[in-house]
Symmetry: none
Subunit: 199 residues, 4 copies
Amino acid sequence: MPTDRLDNTRREEILDVAAEIFGKKGYRAATLNDVAKAMGFTRAALYYYFENKQEMLAALSDMAGLHLMTQLDKRLAEDGTTLDKVRGILLDHASAFIRQPRLFSVFQAEVSELPTAARQRLESGERAYIGAIASLLEVGMDEGTFARRPAKPSALAMVGMANSVARWYRPQAGLSAKEVGELIVDLCVGGLTTPSALS
Amino acid sequence: MPTDRLDNTRREEILDVAAEIFGKKGYRAATLNDVAKAMGFTRAALYYYFENKQEMLAALSDMAGLHLMTQLDKRLAEDGTTLDKVRGILLDHASAFIRQPRLFSVFQAEVSELPTAARQRLESGERAYIGAIASLLEVGMDEGTFARRPAKPSALAMVGMANSVARWYRPQAGLSAKEVGELIVDLCVGGLTTPSALS
Amino acid sequence: MPTDRLDNTRREEILDVAAEIFGKKGYRAATLNDVAKAMGFTRAALYYYFENKQEMLAALSDMAGLHLMTQLDKRLAEDGTTLDKVRGILLDHASAFIRQPRLFSVFQAEVSELPTAARQRLESGERAYIGAIASLLEVGMDEGTFARRPAKPSALAMVGMANSVARWYRPQAGLSAKEVGELIVDLCVGGLTTPSALS
Amino acid sequence: MPTDRLDNTRREEILDVAAEIFGKKGYRAATLNDVAKAMGFTRAALYYYFENKQEMLAALSDMAGLHLMTQLDKRLAEDGTTLDKVRGILLDHASAFIRQPRLFSVFQAEVSELPTAARQRLESGERAYIGAIASLLEVGMDEGTFARRPAKPSALAMVGMANSVARWYRPQAGLSAKEVGELIVDLCVGGLTTPSALS
DNA sequence: TATGAATGAGACTTCATTCAT
DNA sequence: GATGAATGAAGTCTCATTCAT
């Protein structure tokens, strides 16, 4: 079905544009007109590709959620130490938020605007995501690699730090995307202090 | 000045309610009707206290910004090691975001909705805030207390972690506000790992 | 009754201010707040002196109408030729509109905003006013002083010309109020042309 | 281009209706609902054709201004004596105000409601219009056809008389539009008096 | 596929007006 | 005499959405 092919391309183009615009102005403030104009056609045409505005948001949310989940699963399946896995997960997470800050901002910020089903998908995805990281942390604590701390809040806090790059990372500011990803990982894993400073 | 008193009380009551509602639904989705109803009077009455909806947002933003700045200055003026100061700042920051999550969510999320003047105030405030923390980090690095890392991105990342509590902290979840504050501090300062794990 | 005295003074001050503001912005666009602020007190205070906004307009209209009527009657009662009387009436009319352009603009422009009773007063006053002038014109035609033309439309047209000074007369523009009044009279009476030009 | 055609037709239909309603009630008192209802559709539909209410007023103003300017230019380009030209201009002017009294009332009365750009267009147009007539008057004075009088105020006064017909002309009152136009011209040119009466 | 045209719902805002103090 | 506080009605404007073409 070449038609399907085309449709999906178009749909994704629209979603890209929508992520950009929703991210810049906020879902509510962004207008379907904004999106349509950026695509070069009219408001009404969007309804050929999407049921309605909310569906675009839901698609974006699902897309972002799926991306994170896939990354996570890949890391979990890898060989390596617990520490390696946590490093990998945080790096992937931060990298995603650096690469597509708008998409992931929307994903974060507009939860309350999602239609119920999509919100539930997002929330249960998030629970699973955080839960997986928390489990990993507990493994590390049991191994003695990680200091013993409440696992889930720790996971949430680290993910919160990694999320934040979407808001503040600027490529012109001197650090490459890779360097910022590594900074996040280093801070989460080693903290501010030099090893000796704490002893 | 009983009159002055009353005015300000009313205005602040409204702002409290507004923070709550803007925080829950988002500034754009929240209705002045929502705010008025929650206050027990009419939409129109709000215009007795505020020029318009945006002014409420601006007031909220200024309020939150001032709060953070004041906290920061107090900590900077205290005696103590660099590490103590950083700990104190992060603790205050996280505590503020735990105590008034809605207010600070609005502060974070709705920058693009602020009138220009208020946005500029917020942004220059943020620059100063981050700048002060980054300076402190550099002092600590020079002292050898902190590992040498890019200071400003580190400050942004840590603040990002502390910000995130507003989104995920739930009092029912077992940890007290104080404990969560300390968790953030510990993670930022010491990282996940036990000191030995890295050596 | 000294109270009455005071009241009336105040009322008239307010009407002056109101004429000014209604004249500048239009009755509908002008706000009671505008008027109150210009008087140095609050909106609500105006209701001590007037039933409501419309009553202010009505008072203004009656005031202006009475003024014109009184002038007219005085001229009609004077000795002199028909031509003298017409000259006098037009001069008075134009002078009034030069001296208090705002008041008379309101009087002209806001008929549709008047409460019914006041509108009827204004309209019957106008009929009487125009009727009186038209009668005078007819007398002049019968005498052979005036060229024979439809009397009422002529009266309306001449009054229309005299009215217009409220819109365009500017004291700085070189002509005194008196000179403009006389210009109107001369144009109405003698027209543009020199006597010889028409013969 | 059938589309273009349709658009403009619709827009113009709306403007016609708007002129009618703005003229009857005043721009401020007139409601977009009034206009929409008179057109047979919804308030919101108007926004498909116009940015906002003010733009409708501006379009009306431009339309009226253009009409007058075009008339004037045509008369100025004609052969004939100075007197002929002045007669023609005044006749056209009065005729326009008789034919479309509402449109030209709006044009006159609602200057203060115009957006700045449109107001400036109107005002500079008016200056040009009056200036052209005043120049003609000066030519006539130099020729000896016209009595020597201040030219610009004379032009303003005559135009003011011609304007006034929009307020008072009623077809039922016995005079045809043409007759009223000629009355205005005769009064302006020859004044009230018979030639002999002044000598 | 895409658009022109229109709608309906709802939002923000303004303002004359009231009334207890 | 005057004000602070509040209301209700109305008006402008925005937008997602629809539908015939």
